[in-house]
Amino acid sequence: MSLPAQTAPAYAELCAVSNFSFLWGASHPEELVERAARLGYSALALTDECSLAGVVRAHAAARDCGLHLIVGSRFQLDCGLGLVVLAMDRGGYARLSRLISAARREARKGSYRLDRTMLADGLPGCLALWLPGREEARAVADGVWLRDCFGERCRIGVVRHLGPGESVRLRSLERLARETGIDRVALGDVHMHARGRRALADALTAIRLGTTVAAAGTALAGNGEAHLRGRARLARLYGTGLVAATVELARRCSFSLDELAYEYPQESVPAGYTLSGWLRARVEAGVAERWPEGVPPGVRDQLEHELALIAELGYEAYFLTVDDIVRYARERGILCQGRGSAANSAVCYCLGITAVDPSTSALLFERFISRERGEPPDIDVDFEHHRREEVIQYVYRRYGADHVALAATVICYRPKSALRDVAGALGMEPAQVDRLARAGAGRDGRTIDRERVLETGFDPDAPVIHRVLTLAEQIQGFPRHLSQHVGGLVIGRQPLTDLVPIENAAMDGRTVIQWDKDDLDAIGLLKIDCLALGMLTAIHDAFDRIAAFYGRRYTLAAIPREDPDVFAMIQRADTIGVFQIESRAQMTMLPRLKPATFYDLVIEISIVRPGPIQGEMVHPYLRRRQGLEPIEYGGPEIERVLGRTLGVPLFQEQVIEMAMVAADFSPGEADRLRRSMAAWRKSGDLEPFERRLVEGMTANGYTAEFARRMFAQIRGFAGYGFPESHAASFALLAWASAWLKHHHPAAFTAALLNAQPMGFYGPSQLVRAAREQGVEVRPVDVRASEAVSTLEPDGSGGATLRLGLDRVRGLSAGARARIAAVGAAVADTADLAERAGLDRRDLDALAEADALRGLAGDRTAARWAAHGVQAALPLFGDDEAQQPRPALRPPREGESIRADYASTGLTLRRHPLALLRARFAHWRTADDACRLADGARVVTGGLVITRQQPSTASGVTFLTLEDETGVINVIVRQGVGRQYRPTLYGGRLVGVAGRVQRQESVVHVVAETLEDASGWLGRLDVSSRDFH
């Protein structure tokens, strides 16, 4: 670094590991690339151990700073041989990728196995740099083998880290070169970009070895030389010959990741069709189906425009692939729906990928498939959660196991894990490590919070704590291991291993590629997210039940739109069970926003998100909608873009378009703005964009103040905002579920119960909501219940809900089916046990659930009977009926309620609080409390049904309490929460004293004190005596 770059000899670093060699490399790939460029290196080879997981990031960074990046990897063979392999050309890259895949597939997740036979083909197109061992005699034999294997593409790597005995070592390598005839080349064997990471490198070593830095001894590096050193110094150390050799070898490595031409999977296009012809044919078939009376004119234009764009960019195969997967799902009767940037296009509607009608909503297809960006379009498809696996298996079958893999998710150090590992490595005691990790991880878990460390009693300036905090901050964000993405399938035309290494995932039979979602985007690989969505399962089940009961079959597309009764229900926030708008926050918004059209739902879904609240954007929209604040656009361009959201940017599409029309961003720039918004929370800074946006807008005649306010609103929802297309797809499911809830509450509730666990509410709340809607709910009964919840006729043509045997805790799936098959035709418990082949646990479970009441009487009697049967089963001929029956006390109401909850998670009897009301007469009922005026003092309480602590709500906890009259929403501020911590987190029956906070029809109680009354629940059976 001392000499000016131009005078020092040229040097290329051919061996460097990043932190993608987990717990080894101490720098990010980007840091290595940037420093190499700054030092004027001719090239840098990223050679992570048996991995290419960091190369895409390095490639992007290298492109930005104009550095020649060489793709490579280093290995240790089973025999101990150390080798760095560099890809010279595309063929060599494919071989390297296949080699890594083979080595990884041989071993369990996270490790690899490589032996000499796997190198037998000599890896044409690759260079091999050999890191000889210390044993000279063996080294000669190894060298001879390497020379035979790689020919002149092999070098001896000479590493100078100024370790002990280095001069002897250098002479030995010189001899080795003479004896084997292999030339030498200088290697930096780099583990960190700068010497300053020395401490971190030591800490990583200690973590990797599971020891402390102090005890790691000579396992640590003796010095910090394994960093990117200045060229002049390297030339002095290695001599000009060895340094010149690096440059010459680097020159031979001409491969760049840009060459990876990804080809979409070959769609089996019927004979006589071109790709685009076939796509058009598929779309036209869809048009005929969607609009039997003729396509609306606007839609026709939109279709033509989209098809032209798809053809121009060559994305036909992508759309046809998604079409193929969706078609398979549909044929198998699996409900699915697409979302994502490209999903809400007219093409996708016609292909049946989504059900959002383009004639009724504003679409911005072009923004997401732009000519400018080389990125593939993005379509996510949600499938019924119980059946997604079938679809994934189909994709593997359809395209071949070699051509399909899951994208990786890079699991990184988070504050807590960073503190834990570093503190351990620095020898802190386990209990202290625990305490520090919990305290230091901060309230939001995203940053290391020095202030809280201080609060917990650690002195952040004490040397050890200071070291821990500093290193933890450095290690935070370091990749830790590769995990599988939730559903991102990568599909290729050639075997994928030619493009990217594949390794074993933790799940048997699953494989992941070494790149994550962002890497795939950057390289332009096709990814289809196949996700699981419980609501689709529920909607499908509801459709089936309605069809079976009423003989009328609905589909997502056939559900009537714009039904005022359904909107009235939504406006009352009567939305338990409704997709997306059932959360506590949504329910508080609904009565204020009063959605009255489908598009209002799209907004409703987008508006209640953590981001917009933080950015104070909800209020502007709401105030404007309620006419409390004037709508300002600042200019006609913005009015056109933001008109539909009253001037408030809510969607990513709007941000992009606004930046383009009002501030003259190019489409590419606008897209970068969108991406940095998404990444803002992880890293990066929006400041350059702010300057650019404000300048652009003022140039177009907007005031600087307006522009800055606009930017504040954009920033407020950075990283949180939905694309409008997502929101529209979600709104459709919200509408469908709301419609079902309103018109077919019994079927809808049965379906929700059968799809559990999902959504915000448990069975108890769902059943309660249904009963409040007037649905008759019948208890589990072995003579009447099916395996799942079903509909039963109520005698006057309507449907009642019969709880299924799956409500019974501890009853095996097999037993459920057998009992349902035997049905009503059993005489008594023993008969049932015999005919349905029930074992001890099954009978216990049924007795507990009160499901035997028709056979054996009340719960105590049923239990006595069930327990007697099970003991008798093996003894043929032993007749329980002849045994004396004790006089058992019938269960008290409170006992029954408790047992109902314990076994089925819900009760159809009275609410527990109704029994305890005499004890808690001073608690206002929920019903009563909701009628109080704003600011009124109130003492109330109930069963805790939900407890939410949104990460963005600065320590506020939302409690939902339930009593026999309804629910009470409680806000517990941080101070109160801290004071009543055990009650807040452990209480099941909780009393609250506080003040009413009323905003229009939305009522909260802001808690001042809490009281844990859970003890009374245990005494329900005792206190219930008072009521008999």
Partner: protein
């Protein structure tokens, strides 16, 4: 027969010296994939930590909670020591692990001047040993246990047994969880209710064992708990609640064990001639400290004073994780008549070492060991003679045999080259050593092998942070 059951609800905590700590402490054990609390101290109890609670739930209530892993073997050993001490009161003692000791006191209560007097002495002994124990007294062992676990109780007469038990809930020792849940499910909540169920039906549903249990409780079935045979020597080990670098905790643990030793000796009316204290390091060998006594002794306070004195003279090689006290077979004991200061005589095993130390001074005698460390001055260490080093390097780097205790500053010539009895030839180097940041003693040096005009091979280094400073660090042979 009359049975006294001692139930120690916090034994797990007491043996870890944690019952009286001022911070919340809980002993936890694995239950499936989770950890649950088995015992907690008062501070933790006040914060809302309860037995059976998951560790995470407990931490929510007491964020500062310290958790200790349950050690069943240590609990068993502590229970045995308590059982051995109980022979002071009777010759029929039975252990009921994990938490109970049963004593037959029907025969011996008269010797102590009645039941109350006996119980007072039991209470005093428990106090000295630092054991909390709930006491149940009943004509049957099962009933005594049940009462103890209910918080204590006393039923002296057999005739009153069935009725007195009848009102008790049907939960507790001998009645497993499944059984009590079933009973509850049938609406049966008291023992009277159990007694009223048809015997045939009970056997069928809850098994023969439960019926036997009911019969034993009310004395319809005799029960002879197994007699405990105490071991012939005292042996106790206490795992410290945290690693101790200083002697405070180890001494506390030894004192506890010596109280137990006294009770143990008292129960056999014996004394001892010597005992051994074992200090267990985190790794490596046990450090044994022999304490000899001039005359057979049993008073804990006397032994404690000697132990303290011996321990304070001992140098710890590293943190101590556990402490033990062991004796040989006891000897006959006569209350002391001589003064306490006469017994200093201990005979350490290594006489040579003692003689060397006597001549050269205590600090002058030590062992040597290599340490895997890059910093040369820390790459070796003094050890206790015969001690084992913490960790030795696998492959030792080239180092001079003679390393200076303090690196010496070298003078420079006009060109700022170092001198050492003349001009130096740098033969090899640099070897760069930069390490040690974690203990505040970070070094940054470049080492060279140099020869001076006198032919001496020197190991010198340049301080990288002050590049004009050269030091002599060692001499090659």
């Amino acid at each position: 027969m009359l049975w006294l059951d001692l139930y120690c609800p916090r034994l797990a905590l007491e043996i870890a010296l944690s019952a009286a700590r001022t911070e919340p402490v809980a002993v936890v054990e694995a239950a499936g994939a989770h950890e649950v609390v088995v015992a907690s101290n008062d501070v933790a109890l006040r914060a809302g930590v309860r037995t059976g609670m998951g560790t995470d739930a407990a931490r929510v209530r007491a964020p500062e909670l310290r958790t200790l892993k349950r050690d069943p073997a240590a609990e068993r050993a502590a229970l045995e020591r308590l059982g051995a001490a109980c022979f002071y009161f009777t010759d029929y003692v039975s252990l009921q692990p994990p938490t109970d000791v049963l004593l037959e006191i029907g025969g011996s209560r008269r010797l102590f001047g009645g039941l109350d007097a006996l119980l007072a002495e039991v209470g005093a002994m428990l106090g000295t040993l630092g054991r909390e124990a709930w006491q149940g007294i009943a004509p049957t062992p099962a009933a005594a246990r049940l009462l103890a676990h209910r918080g204590g109780g006393r039923i002296e007469h057999r005739d009153a047994l069935a009725e007195a038990l009848g009102s008790l809930p049907c939960r507790g020792p001998g009645i497993d969880r499944r059984t009590s849940e079933r009973l509850e499910g049938w609406g049966v909540s008291t023992l009277a209710g159990c007694f009223a169920l048809p015997r045939e039906g009970v056997t069928r549903r809850l098994g023969r064992d439960f019926l036997d249990c009911l019969d034993r409780l009310r004395g319809q079935r005799e029960e002879s708990p197994p007699r405990f045979q105490p071991p012939g020597r005292f042996e106790g080990v206490v795992t410290l609640p945290e690693e101790a670098a200083s002697l405070d905790l180890p001494i506390l643990a030894v004192e506890r064990l010596l109280w137990e030793l006294e009770a143990w000796l008292r129960a056999r009316d014996a004394g001892i001639q010597d005992f051994r204290i074992d200090l267990y390091p985190r790794r490596g060998d046990v450090l044994a400290v022999e304490v000899g006594l001039a005359t057979p002794t049993r008073e804990a306070q006397h032994m404690q004073a000697l132990a303290r004195e011996r321990l304070e003279r001992t140098t710890l090689q590293g943190p101590v994780v556990a402490v033990g006290v062991r004796t040989r077979a006891p000897v006959g004991y006569h209350p002391p008549v001589t003064d306490l200061l006469t017994d200093a005589g201990t005979e350490p095993p290594e006489r040579l070492l003692e003689r060397l130390r006597a001549r050269l001074g205590r600090e002058a005698v030590h062992g040597l060991a290599l340490v895997a460390e890059h910093r040369p001055e820390r790459a070796w260490q003094r050890t206790a003679p015969g001690g084992t080093p913490v960790h030795e390097p696998v492959e030792a780097p080239p180092r001079p045999l003679w390393l200076l205790a303090q690196p010496g500053v070298l003078p420079l010539d006009g060109q700022r080259r170092p001198l050492c009895q003349g001009q130096l030839d740098l033969l090899d180097g640099p070897e760069r050593i930069e390490t040690g940041w974690w203990d505040g003693d970070d070094v940054e040096r470049d080492y060279f092998v140099a020869r001076n005009p006198g032919g001496s091979l020197l190991w010198i280094y340049r301080e990288r942070r002050v590049p004009v400073m050269w030091y002599l660090h060692g001499l090659f042979a």
